[in-house]
């Protein structure tokens, strides 16, 4: 089997995969603890679905990834390549993904009206516009509520490497409350002491301060926590509100995480080096590996942000030098995502794990004078893969110049409803919002894209 090296991530041959996966179910780690926990989860007949969101911060260019316009003035320099599905062609810089097209659905007709990073992020991530007093929860929090369990040791919503500055509320639990708030690791844009560039993802992807200090015994820690809980209870009762409750909840969840074996999910050094190479030795690639481990342990929603390289935080926001930037980003995205799908498949998890690829909007088909593309919500692409999605299809079509949707426009509620339905979530279910009004998980006008759902 051919094997080619790319800048980030070497490809694993089929023999490598077989060697790495024992009995085709789980990989191996030094101690075997992960398999024990994971095997229980993976093989459980009642296993619920999980979702991995690959969030492309800044707005990824559709005409240079999944919806090329070769031969048109708007086309740009990239060539199209064939994929595993005849008739579907994508960017030459995503060759390994091309081989997985049978598992993927390209939605080429996303159409929204929001061209501002903050508003658009909020819309895509919650399904609603940021207006008025209602604090809409992000998709991760919604999925955590529906598919997560209060008893689980790991939080049900994990966010890897987010950049929240444009709209912090788009990354939160909103009115669902602090129990659905994400555990965040590797937050971009927050400098970690001593960290430079991409290679210090090792520290970034760990949960800091998880272990007790050396001079504190577990017994002493237990006694302290009990005393603290007493004090907290009284304060929260006399001061009802978000801030005190969030404090109490965070501490309770932190203690639970400390005590759990599942927190070892963050020890990526337990994975074979060859597999880590295949994902790509950078924050996004290793973040995808971490996502696989978390999903293996039953975490229902994990998002991994690809914001950029070398500490950049919205690298897809290519107002200038679009083509160099997108090529570099593609060379990180391609190995990470394709390895993720292979890895999940080998462990029998792909059919129960939905992968969503999206950003806040697309980019202008017309190339600007700085060889860049600007914000463009009119007609752009998202991708769904795995889970119960019937892959190997394209939904919708844009005009030859890419400026508008020519067939089957997909508004945000429809897209999110498709995600929910694939995960087994009832979209018409209501949650009570912070103003007392019940709010549906997805707007009631939403129609899931039936033709791609099983």
């Amino acid at each position: 089997m051919a094997r080619f090296q790319s800048n980030n991530g070497s490809q694993l041959s089929r023999r490598d995969w077989l060697r790495l996966s024992a009995a085709g179910v789980a990989g191996f780690s030094a101690s075997g603890w992960l398999e024990t926990l994971a095997a229980d989860t993976a093989n459980h007949p009642q296993r619920r679905h999980s979702c991995i969101l690959l969030w492309m911060n800044g707005g990824p260019s559709q005409n240079d990834t999944f919806d090329l316009k070769p031969g048109h003035a708007n086309g740009g320099p990239y060539k199209e390549i064939a994929t595993a599905v005849p008739g579907i062609r994508i960017s030459e810089h995503l060759p390994r993904l091309a081989k997985h097209m049978d598992k993927m659905v390209l939605v080429r007709s996303m159409s929204t009206k929001e061209g501002d990073h903050g508003r658009a992020s909020f819309l895509m991530r919650t399904g609603y516009l940021p207006q008025g007093p209602i604090e809409y929860p992000s998709l991760g929090a919604l999925v955590a509520k529906e598919l997560g369990s209060d008893r689980s040791e790991l939080p049900s919503f994990v966010s890897i490497g987010p950049y929240r500055f444009f709209n912090p509320a788009a990354y939160g639990a909103g009115f669902l409350g602090p129990t659905c708030a994400p555990l965040i690791v590797g937050e971009n844009g927050v400098p970690t002491p001593g960290q430079q560039g991409d290679n210090n993802y090792e520290q970034a992807l760990k949960v800091q301060d998880l272990d007790l200090p050396r001079d504190v015994s577990p017994r002493q820690a237990e006694a302290r926590v009990q005393l603290l809980q007493g004090l907290e209870e009284r304060f929260v009762m006399q001061h009802p509100g978000v801030a005190p409750l969030s404090h109490q909840t965070a501490y309770n969840r932190a203690v639970r995480l400390m005590r759990s074996a599942a927190s070892r999910a963050f020890n990526l050094e337990e994975e074979p080096a060859a597999l880590r190479d295949a994902y790509g030795r950078n924050q996004f690639g290793q973040g995808c590996l971490l996502a696989r481990r978390l999903v293996e342990l039953g975490v229902p929603f994990v998002e991994v942000t690809l914001g950029g390289l070398n500490g950049q935080v919205f690298g897809w926001d290519t107002h200038q030098e679009n083509f160099n930037a997108v090529k570099d980003l593609s060379q990180v995205l391609d190995p990470a995502w394709s390895t993720l799908m292979e890895d999940l498949k080998v462990r029998g998890l792909l059919s129960s794990t939905l992968i969503v690829w999206m950003g806040e909007f697309g980019r202008t088909p017309k190339i600007n004078p700085q060889r860049g593309r600007d914000h463009f919500p009119n007609a752009w692409s998202t991708v769904l893969a795995g889970g119960s999605i019937q892959g190997g299809r394209v939904v919708g079509r844009t005009s030859p110049d890419g400026m508008s949707v020519a067939d089957r426009p997909v508004p945000v509620p429809d897209f999110l409803a498709t995600i929910c339905q694939s995960l087994g979530i009832d979209t018409m279910k209501m949650n009570v919002s912070n103003v007392g009004r019940p709010i549906r998980i997805v707007d009631k006008s939403a129609k899931p894209i039936q033709e791609i759902l099983a």
Binding site: Q220, L228, F235
Partner: protein, 547 residues
């Protein structure tokens, strides 16, 4: 400069004229008449304005059957006012002294003392810096923080009037050569200048337009950059006409932080993506009197800070209100619109009027707010009617900024020298404990809804800072309390409460803690058990919040 209203349709609340009492057609009936001073006519001193605040707030309760929370006791008030003014909790001995002081005017005198303290200057330097440079995570901008703080610090110390400070920011020279940039980035003696504000906005007219409008006028224009604003009535053309005031500023090259020499009389620009060129116009549609030699940004500065610019004075009053109450009279503070009117319109107008009459002296407004009964309400909930934050019938629980949290922790644990570390030192040493701590606690949410994350909880529970502070070997405060021959166990616990929560423990709290310590905790060691109690206090919500 007369303020023109042509084309301005912000909301029916603002009216034409200099100091008129605004009325909306559907406004609630005016209350019987304010006590003491005749609203709208006189210049009120701080006490009189405090009474006005209480009057307007209470007027809104009557029809809703709201029962306000009782006034805060001395301990609650002391801690709150220290955090709001000085940016840190009081020292244990300050707590003891204040609680024992029989002087009936001690609360006001406390405010005066704090307003003259160096901590006040540090705190508000941080507050303004955070407003002007919200995105301190940008590495390049971080290097310019010292120069901005060096510029803010003396002005806050001398209580320079707010309008003067804003004029200076709006007209600050931006072009710099490499040597000047290096001097501004210097940690030791940085050149004081507010130009970091310009760099943080990437020297782009559209970013400067959005930021200045939001910060100084309380108007959020951003959406109008690309199309007509969906909610307010700003058009795309108006946005760019306002941005044209900054059209003379250009970066030296692509993505360059250094500004090219400014074309200070340029006042037109092309709307990007179009061939339309627009001339600089104020938000109300009027134009400055373009005499020859008028520097464009100077003209903008005059308009923004004009005495009859209601946006400016209302926004200033509202921001200061939000600082003390956690929630503005207009909330969100930078989005006044027809859908987001002030909760107490007459009060906001009165605050704005008095601020103008006192020549934008922020300390005056601070005195008025902190003397009001509204500010002095307890934050404990005693009646369900107190749950609506915009009625101000109780004080809201507010989060601390990362700086306030660190400085309070440092004080409570005796970290560093006696007194509060100078915030200008070591802020950039990315490996310093303070910087590492601040990075983990960057605040992003609304202050009354601040969230604690799991990572923050872990950092406080297991992190080195609190670990050192609760170690008998390494912590000065703990050692002093544990080893002091003057205390018995109850006294020791009380000392820890005073150092952290700035109050004495209640009888119900004290009994189980005394028992725990006397029995030696988990290690059969009374001193270790005391360390546990200290750990608990430092990790409590009550410590981490401003209430």
């Amino acid at each position: 400069m007369r303020f023109l209203w042509r084309g301005l349709s912000l909301c029916g609340i603002l009216s034409v004229g200099l100091i008129a009492i605004p009325l909306r057609a559907d406004a609630p009936p005016k209350p019987a008449g304010p006590p003491k001073a005749q609203a709208g006519a006189a210049k009120l001193d701080a006490q009189q304005l405090a009474s006005q605040i209480d009057f307007y707030i209470a007027a809104a309760w009557g029809s809703k059957g709201v029962k306000p929370a009782p006034l805060a006791d001395d301990a609650e008030y002391l801690r709150r006012v220290y955090l709001d003014l000085a940016g840190r909790i009081p020292r244990a001995m300050d707590v003891r002294d204040f609680l024992e002081d029989p002087n009936p005017s001690k609360r006001q005198e406390l405010v005066e003392r704090l307003l003259e303290s160096p901590n006040y200057v540090n705190n508000f330097t941080n507050v303004w810096r955070a407003l002007l440079l919200p995105q301190v995570n940008n590495q390049q901008v971080q290097f310019l923080i010292p120069s901005l703080e060096a510029w803010l610090h003396p002005r806050i110390k001398e209580n320079v009037s707010y309008d003067k400070m804003v004029r200076e920011i709006l007209t600050a020279p931006v072009s710099a050569n490499a040597q000047q940039m290096r001097r501004r980035s210097s940690n030791k003696r940085p050149d004081p200048t507010p130009t970091a504000f310009y760099q943080a906005n990437e020297l782009k007219p559209e970013n400067l337009a959005a930021s200045t409008s939001r910060l100084f006028l309380g108007v959020k224009l951003e959406c109008a950059q690309c199309h007509n604003h969906p909610r307010a009535n700003w058009t795309r053309k108006q946005f760019w006409e306002y941005a044209a005031f900054f059209s003379g500023i250009q970066p030296q090259g692509q993505g360059n932080m250094m500004a090219a020499p400014e074309m200070s009389e340029r006042r037109a620009l092309k709307i990007p993506g179009t061939e339309t060129e627009v001339q600089a116009r104020f938000l109300d549609g009027s134009e400055p009197n373009w005499e020859s030699g008028t520097r464009t940004r100077a003209a903008l500065a005059s308009w923004v800070t004009a005495v009859d610019n209601p946006f400016f004075s209302r926004s200033a009053a509202n921001r200061l209100w939000a600082h003390f109450f956690g929630v503005g009279l207009i909330e969100p503070v930078d989005e006044e619109s027809e859908e987001n009117p002030p909760s107490h319109p007459e009060l906001l107008n009165e605050l704005a009027r008095q601020l103008i009459a006192h020549e934008f002296d922020l300390k005056y407004l601070i005195r008025a707010i902190t003397s009001s009964q509204t500010y002095q309400r307890s934050s404990t909930v005693t009646d369900p009617s107190q749950n609506e934050p915009r009625l101000f019938s109780r004080m809201a629980v507010k989060g601390l900024t990362p700086e306030q949290l660190f400085d309070s922790l440092a004080l409570a644990t005796g970290y560093g020298e006696e007194g509060v570390p100078n915030p200008r030192v070591d802020t950039l040493g990315l490996n310093s404990p303070r910087a590492a701590f601040l990075a983990k606690f960057s605040s992003q949410e609304k202050r009354t809804e601040v969230q604690t994350s799991i990572l923050q909880a872990l950092a406080l529970m297991n992190g080195q800072f609190v670990g050192d502070a609760t170690s008998l070997e390494r912590s000065r405060t703990l050692a002093a309390v544990a080893d002091s021959p003057f205390f018995e166990t109850p006294g020791r616990i009380e000392a820890l409460f005073l150092a952290t929560l700035s109050r004495k423990p209640s009888a119900e709290e004290l009994a189980p803690l005394v028992k725990y310590v006397s029995e030696g905790g988990s290690k059969n060691d009374q001193k270790a058990a005391l360390a546990d109690v200290f750990w608990v206090l430092l990790n409590s919500a009550e410590f981490m919040l401003n209430h």
